[in-house]
Every structure is written in C-alpha cells, then in structure tokens.
Amino acid sequence: MPVSHPAADFLPLPHLPFHVLLALADGEPRHGWAVIKRIDEMTEGGTCPSTGSLYLAMGRLEDRGLLERVDPPAEEQDTRRKFYRLTALGGRVLDAESRRLGALVDVARASRLLRPER
C-alpha cells in the first residue's frame, strides 16, 4: 500500500532510480525493455542497466508510489507486458532531485571545479 511522503524524504536519489524516473519523465507509459533502451540513449551508452537491477529498482519505486503500473496502450500487441508510468509523487521527487543535483553542479561551477568542455 503506497503511502504518500514528502518528496524530500527520498533524496538523495540513488543513481539507477534517478535514471528510471528520468526515462519516464515524459509521461509516456513504458515497459522494462523500453526503459532500458531509453536510459541507454539518454546517457549515450554510459549507463545500461541489467534487467536484474532495473526490475529491482522499479519494484521498489512502485512500492513507494513513485511509479505505477498501467494497462498497455491500445496499439501494443503483447498485452501481458507490464507498463510503468511516473506518478505525481514520482514527478515531484524527480523534480526535487534534479534541483538538488543542479544546485550541486552550480556549487561545483562556482568553485571552478567544473569547466565547460572544450
């Protein structure tokens, strides 16, 4: 039974859950393989989760109410697959984490640790 919590309770968000939320950020429902592919694309091959890690992470995000399972879209042939979509809470957590990371990056920039790439 998902219980609602303030988004801040979930911060900092671990690496993989953050990517999962990012992959679903556009609101489209996706199944596991599509999430894997999208993370792979977004990070340009830098991160490609294994099925084992991904489903464990998605299971936990679902348990906490950050993701929800939805019916497959009508055009999908294989109706047995589970599709996942970001919940409102998930959206808020993603937003909060992005801000937190953004703020950290700003700090790093200000300390001249991070220079724009050549």
């Binding site: 989760p49 084992g52 299971g59 936990r60 906490r64 697959r81």
Partner: protein, 908 residues
C-alpha cells in the same frame, strides 16, 4: 547461442526472492530475450558475452540487495533504526555495487593479485577444474557426435529404419533383439517396396563381403554393401564421378558397382579412367558406374564398394530369412506410426505363411545409437558427478582461503565496501578460476576426446566424427560459468552472513562456522566420490568375473580361421564331379593346416565359438507336445573328434566318428546337456529322435556339456551338433588346436593355406582367446572409463580432506599448543587430528554407499557375476576411503604434534 542464455538466465532468476520474482520474472525474461537479440545485432557474440556478464552480475547483485532493506525504508518508515552504517551500505550498494565494466575490471585486477600471491591455491584449483570440466566436456563431445548431431543427410529426421518383427518372440533366449528388429529377405523387401505408399523412398541394403580379384595381386576380401537404387536419392548422395544406380540398371542382368571415395583414391589412385571399367568380384564381372562423393557413408556400414541389387516379390525365397536392412524416407505428412501400420498390413497379407508378421518403424538416428545410449548417458552422468566433486573441492579451497582472508575482507568492509561489493569481488575471483578452468578443461577435453575415440570398443556408431567443436566448447564455457557461480556462491554467501565488524577484533570469531561449511562440502564430495568409486569397482569386478568364466571348453591354444571358398571354380555343370573336386580341395587345405608346426588337430566347425556366426534351428524332439513349435537351438556341424579336441565333456553316449561322416549314412546328432534336459527330462537322450531342418529325422547318439560361444555372459544351453559331412558346407571355418603359443602359429597357418592356393582369401584368422577377449572390449572400456572418473573423484575428495584437516590444525595451533603444554602426549594429538579426518570420511562414505546402492539400478544391466550391493566392493570402499583419509591427515597431524607450546601461546 541465445538459447543457452535463456537456460542460465532462467536458472539464475531463482536467486531472486520469491515474491519479487513472481511479479517480474516474465517481463525480465522477455526483456532479456530482447537484449540478447539487440546485442547480437549490434556486436555479435562478443557483445552477447558482455551482456551475459553484465546480466549475471546484475542478477547476483539484485539477489543480494533485494534481501536487504533499501535506503527509503529507514528514512520513510517511522521507527526504523537510522543506522549510519546501514545507510552507508545502502548508498554504497546502489551507487557503487551496480557492476560496471569499471568495477569488474578492478575486481579482475584484484583477483589476479590475490592469486599471484597464492600460486599453490591457483594451481590446485585450476588443475582440479580442468580435469573436471575436461572430463565432462570430452564425454559431451562423444555424446554430441554419437547421439545429438543430426545425421549428415537432408532432413535426417524423416529417415526411418524399417524392420520385420515377431512380437510373440520377444524374450526368446536366442533371438534377442531380432524379435522386434529383424532383417529382411530381398523378396520380402521388394514386396513392401511394391505395395507401400507411406515412404517417399524405400530401399534395402545388405552389408556383405566380396572377394576382389585384381591383376597381379592376391585376391582380397573387401567390405561391400548390396543395395537397391533408391538408397542414394533417399540419402541425398552425390557422386564425384559418373552416377549412382537408377531404375534402368540391371534389367538385362548387368552387374554394376559404385566405389566409395576412399577406395577410389586408395585402391585406384584417383584414376578417372576406372569409370566404365570392369571389376572382378567373386569371379564375376561388375561395371564401375560411378565414384561416390567423399565422406558418404551409411552409418553402421563400412563399404568400399556398393553393388547393385534389384528384383521383385515373385523371386524365390520369400519365406527365407535374409540379412537385408531397410530404410525409408517418410512421405509428406505421414507419421512413423502410420508407416508401421501399413508395413505390418502388407506383411500380414503375405501369400506365404511365415508366422505372425509385424513391423517396427523407428527413426534411423535413434536406432543407430540405441545400443550405446544408456552407457553413454551413464558415463556423462559419471563425468558430471566428477565435475561436482571438482567444484566442491574448489569451493572448499576458497572457503579455506576465505578463513584466512576474513580479516582482510572485514577491513575492506569497514572502510566502506558493501557486502554486495565484497561478494562481487569473491564471485569475480571464482569466475577467474572458472575461466582458467574452462581453458584448461578444453585442453584436457581435446586430448581426452581423442583417447576416448581411439580406445573405444568397436560398434559405437559415428565415433569417427568426434571432435571438440564450437558446440562442445560452448558447453564447457557454460559449465565453467555454472561452476564458477556454484563454487563462488558458497564463500560469498558465507561472507554476507559474517559479522564483519567482529572479525576485525579477533582472528577466529566466525571462522568456526566457515570451517563447518567447509567440512560439509568435503563430506558431500566424499559421498559423490564414493558413488563413483563403487560404480567403477562394480564394473571392474564384472570384467574380472567374466575373465574368469569357464566357457565350457579348453579355450587356450585354439585358432579359428575361415576362408572364402571359391565355389565358382567348382561349377562345371557335372554336380558329382564338382562335389568330388571341391571336397578334395578342402581336404588338401585341412592336411596343409595339420602339417604346420605345433598343430595337433584340425577340425571343421560351422560356427566357431565367439566367431559371430550363428545358426538357429527350430527342432522337434521326440515326444515334444507340439512338434510344429519345438525349441529353437543352435546348430553346429562338426567333424569327428571335435568334442575330444575342444575339451567339451561327453556326458553320455559318444561323439562323432569317421563312420558318421558318410553323407548318405544315418542322420545322427549330439545334443547339449541343456537341450537334453529340456526335451527329455529325467530320461536318457541317447537313442531318442530329433528332427531338424524341417523333416530331417536324426538319432541322438550322445550328450555333451553346454558351452558359451556367443558371449561370455550367457551360456548357450540349447544346441545340437551334426556331422560336418551331413551339411557343414564346404566353406566351413576350421578350428586348429596347437601346442604352444597360438598367436605365434597364425603366420604359419596362413602360409600353409596359401601353399595350397595362393589365391585363396583368408577371411578371418584369430586365436579363440583373442576372440573371447574381444567380447569383453565394451565391458573393459566401460570399467576403465568409470575407474578413471572414480580415481579422480577419490583424489579430489582426499585432497579436500587434507585441506580441511590442514586448515583446522592451522586454526587450532593455540589449542594444540595448550594441550601439549598441559601434558597431552604427541600421540594423542596425532590421534585427535586423524580421528577428525576419518570421521569426515566415514560420514561421507556412509552417505555415498547408501546413495550408490539406491541408484545402483542404472548400472545393473552392465553388471555380471556381481550384485549392485556387492559386499566385497562396499566393504573395500567403506574401509579404503577412510584409510586414505587417515593417510591424508598424516602431514597435518605431524604438523600439529610439532607445535611448540611456547610459540603457540605467545602468538596470541
């Protein structure tokens, strides 16, 4: 390849907690399939291998993490302990424990350093694994070549072996397998060929041997197959030169022949002009129609020449039994059962009555391997047991090493490495071992496979094709990965339940549990090794029992030889003159043989013992209730004095004398003890009548002892003898008794035959001792193979005992020192260490013996003269293995007694 992926993935999914697995497993499998396809598309096998590694570590990591609370449970659930270390572990496990190529690479470097520091451990582990993986891989390569690989024909699964069958004769003592899988006479075969419509192609073939006469050379006995034309199109045969047979051949009595590729190159120097020339077989001329493509072979035959055979169901001899085998290619949409029904129906409509006639139709491939399948599968299982023992040994080694490394791991844990991360490290180490083991195993397999094929007894089909190919290598890699996970998991799991913090403070808080785990592994090893040792000993005792068996005659100093009697030479048309000339010719040979040095007697016998020639006859003994359905007995035509020379005891009456040799004299027979007891129980057989060959009414003049002459396992109880002159045939083999070395006499005997006729082919010459020994080739091979597996498993298990004992002594140095300091004498310390080793061994052996007896049934059919619960074997194992364990404990025990109490106590 992707199929193998699914195999291990499905298996590895079980590592996930049940609840989690239930909800996601289907989706995960689906995604894994997509990922495999994707990887293959993008980067072929290397990419797929990378995917497998990532997925395997991903699953293992998930399996660990899924059983631990995640970060949020502590932060989002009220009342949960806000444990700093746990939170750190969480951050570590989610951020860093996802195995990436980076962490894997660093683990690999670390593993390499670990092993370089402990070269002994590395060497022992890799050697053990190489032998285990090598043995399994070699057995698999044999199974792959013999059982699994499809036959080398187009659509091989459609090709069926077709036999006549007599189901009521199943269980008949002398027919054996022939009851359901008989052979055809050619007219029967033509009848089926003419009437059937279930096979697209239907062909008969009969292996035979022919005498090839060539200009300027001695005539040579060659292997050939007589076949109908449809065999070649059915099997998709192509020719190097010329053509195969077709329907138009043989219509005007022409004889034609095809050459195998090998015989074309070896015998005719690849000369294309052989095409269209005439070859002389059995003094008849055959035209060469073609040369078959290299490598074409019908499994189960070994033909240098293929001669053409045609005919029809109206030919003579419909009721006779032949030796022709048949193959059919199923027509579209017809099942083997339907085909069998139709062939049975055709046979039952036969115009000539030859008993209840049915048929068997079964896949050619499975028929070919039917005889060898059970033993191959048992041997694969045995090699699998050996591999498990090897894995156990490596696991025990690693566990032992883990005890030493406990502090190292604890420190790494304390400075921030998560348990999952450490487990990954340990798994990486075992994977490194596994991969090294796979490489070593492949090397062992290449050598062992050659040895297996080279030493194999005759009669294993398709063994020539055994090779360590891609499939086999894949098998060894999969084995290695499974092993790596299997023996890496134990130390890793035991680590994750270790109190890391506690381990830093002391050097032995938790090692006790790990030592116990190591002991259990060793006990398991011993139990499995015991099963193999019991199996090996039982098979070896079977061979020795068979070696000792008395065949019922004096087998030493006997040479059997057969010739290809040149009947065509005695074919002038004048039957009487021909017979006289042929008999004179035969007498000449007999006399020539008798004149060889050391020869004491020369006899003629229609089927020499263990020669593979048999003739069964239905007989009608006087007073038999149903004379049309008498017992079936083996028939042997022998010359006078045969029993005396062979040392077969004459129990009653007399043997044959020269008077009995008159062809038109009274028909007389001598019966075996078994036949006499069956036909005339409690009565004397001498003077009774025995009908054989339909209506030949003979008088029984004697009873002789039953002998073994087909195989050593079974005595041929039902047999009768008749004088050679009353039907032995002019081409009957000779049985020569020599004083002194029979093997040495063979050359002289051969020369004597050729002194009579330099053109007479000797088809076979061998000592009876060698023929008997050949009978045991298969049993001996099985016993040797199993013994090798058993010896290796035993060695591994004893090494395991040594490891445990040595480790325990090292761990208890202080205790030992204390004992000695408190006055324990060295003998009692020695005894204590030895007792511990023996105790482990006894537990393992008892479990193993119980298991061996329980599953001994699978071996039962390969045992003879020894039961699966043979007390001698079980006692030998029950005493021998613990004794070896005691020996293995000698060195550690000596170390224990040499502990200097002062040093040991100071060490704390």
């Amino acid at each position: 390849m992707g199929r193998w992926g699914r195999v291990w993935y499905d298996w590895a999914l079980h590592l996930l907690p049940e609840e989690h697995r239930r909800t996601v497993a289907d989706d995960m499998r689906h995604d894994f399939d997509r990922a495999q396809a994707d990887a293959m598309d993008r980067g072929g096998r290397p990419a797929l291998t990378r995917l497998w590694i990532r997925e395997l570590f991903g699953l293992l990591g998930a399996a660990f993490r899924a059983r631990r609370p995640d970060a949020w449970s502590r932060r989002t659930e009220p009342g949960s302990p806000n444990d700093a270390r746990a939170r750190y572990t969480h951050a570590d496990s989610t951020l860093r424990h996802r195995p990436t190529m980076d962490t894997i690479a660093s683990d690999l470097r670390f593993a390499a350093r670990t092993f370089v520091r402990r070269p002994g451990l590395l060497l022992l582990a890799v050697l053990t694994l190489s032998l285990g993986i090598g043995a399994s891989t070699a057995m698999f390569s044999v199974i792959n070549a013999v059982l699994l690989r499809p036959l080398d024909f187009p659509e091989p699964e459609q090709i069926q072996a077709v036999y006549p069958a007599w189901p009521d004769l199943v269980g008949h003592p002398t027919l054996g397998d022939l009851a359901l899988r008989g052979t055809w006479s050619w007219p029967e075969l033509w009848l089926v060929a003419e009437q059937q419509d279930v096979f697209e192609r239907f062909a008969g073939y009969a292996p035979t041997s022919l005498t090839l006469f060539q200009d300027g050379g001695r005539p040579e006995r060659v292997r050939a197959v007589a076949t109908s034309w449809e065999l070649f199109p059915m099997l998709g045969a192509s020719t190097r030169l010329g053509r195969t047979f077709d329907q138009t051949d043989g219509v005007d009595g022409d004889r034609s022949v095809l050459l195998s590729y090998d015989s074309w190159t070896d015998r005719f120097g690849s000369d294309p002009s052989v095409l269209g020339s005439a070859l002389n077989f059995n003094e008849r001329s055959y035209t060469v129609l073609g040369v078959l493509e290299e490598g074409f072979k019908v499994p189960g035959t070994d033909a240098a020449f293929w001669i053409f055979r045609t005919g029809s169901s109206t030919d003579a001899g419909l009721g006779n039994h032949g030796s022709t085998r048949a193959l059919g290619r199923l027509a579209q949409g017809v099942s083997a059962e339907q085909a069998q029904a139709q062939v049975t129906q055709i046979l039952q409509s036969l115009p000539v009555d030859h008993g209840v006639h049915e048929s068997t139709v079964a896949s050619f491939q499975s028929e070919l391997t039917r005889g060898v399948r059970p033993v191959l599968i048992i041997m694969l299982a045995a090699s699998g047991l050996l591999l498990i023992v090897a894995c156990g040994n490596v696991a025990a080694l690693l566990l032992g090493a883990g005890i030493d490394r406990e502090r190292e791991l604890a420190v790494r844990g304390a400075v921030g490495a998560s348990r999952g991360r450490l487990a990954q490290q340990l798994l990486t180490e075992s994977m490194v071992l596994a991969v090294a083991g796979a490489a070593g195993g492949a090397t062992v397999a290449v050598l062992a496979t050659r040895a297996l094929a080279f030493l194999a007894p005759p009669g294993v089909p398709r063994l020539a094709g055994v090779a360590v190919d891609g499939t086999v290598l894949m098998f060894s890699v999969v084995l290695a990965v499974v092993c790596g996970v299997a023996f890496g998991l134990l130390p890793a799991l035991s680590l994750s339940s270790t109190d890391l913090a506690g381990a830093i403070g002391s050097n032995r808080t938790t090692s006790g549990r790990r030592a116990r785990l190591q002991s259990s592994v060793v006990i398991g090893e011993l139990a499995l090794a015991t099963v193999l040792v019991v199996g090996g000993l039982l098979l070896a005792r079977t061979v020795s029992a068979l070696n000792r068996v008395d065949p019922g005659f004096e087998h030493e100093g006997l040479v059997a030889l057969s010739i290809a009697f040149p009947s065509a030479r005695f074919d002038s048309g004048d039957d009487d003159a021909d017979l006289t000339a042929a008999q004179a010719y035969r007498t000449q040979i007999t006399e020539a043989l008798a004149s060889a040095p050391g020869v004491t007697t020369v006899h003629s016998v229609s089927s020499p013992p263990f020669f593979g020639w048999r003739a069964n006859n239905g007989v009608a003994p006087e007073g038999w209730a149903d004379p049309d359905n008498g017992p079936v007995a083996e028939r042997r035509f022998v010359s006078p004095g045969y029993f005396e020379s062979m040392g077969i005891p004459i129990l009653e009456g007399r043997g044959f004398e020269a008077n009995d040799e008159i062809p038109d004299g009274e028909w007389v027979t001598v019966v075996s003890e078994g036949l006499a007891d069956l036909a005339w129980p409690n009565e004397s057989a001498v003077g009774k009548r025995l009908e054989y060959w339909g209506d030949r009414d003979s008088r029984v003049i004697g009873v002789v002892g039953s002998i073994r002459d087909e195989d050593l396992e079974t005595r041929t109880d039902l047999a009768f003898y008749a004088p050679a002159a009353q039907g032995g045939g002019l081409g009957a083999p000779y049985m020569v008794r020599v004083s002194g070395d029979a093997t040495a006499a063979i050359t002289a005997l051969r020369e004597r035959v050729w002194s009579v006729d330099p053109n007479l082919p000797i088809t076979r010459i061998a000592t009876v001792d060698d023929l008997m020994s050949d009978q045991l080739a298969a049993q001996r091979y099985r016993a040797r193979l199993m013994t090798v597996f058993a010896a290796l498993a035993g060695l591994f298990a004893v090494l395991g005992i040594y490891g445990v004992t040595a480790r325990s002594v090292a761990r208890r140095t202080q205790e030992m020192g204390l004992r000695v300091a408190l006055g324990a004498d060295r003998g009692s310390v020695h005894a204590m260490v030895t007792k511990e080793a023996v105790r482990l061994a006894v537990v393992g052996v008892v479990v193993g013996i119980a298991a061996a007896v329980a599953i001994g049934g699978v071996l039962e059919r390969f045992l003879w003269g020894v039961s699966r619960a043979d007390p001698v074997t079980l006692a030998a194992v029950g005493i021998g293995l613990p004794l070896l364990a005691a020996l293995a404990a000698v060195a550690p025990a000596r170390r224990a007694t040499n502990v200097d109490p002062l040093q040991a106590l100071k060490a704390e």
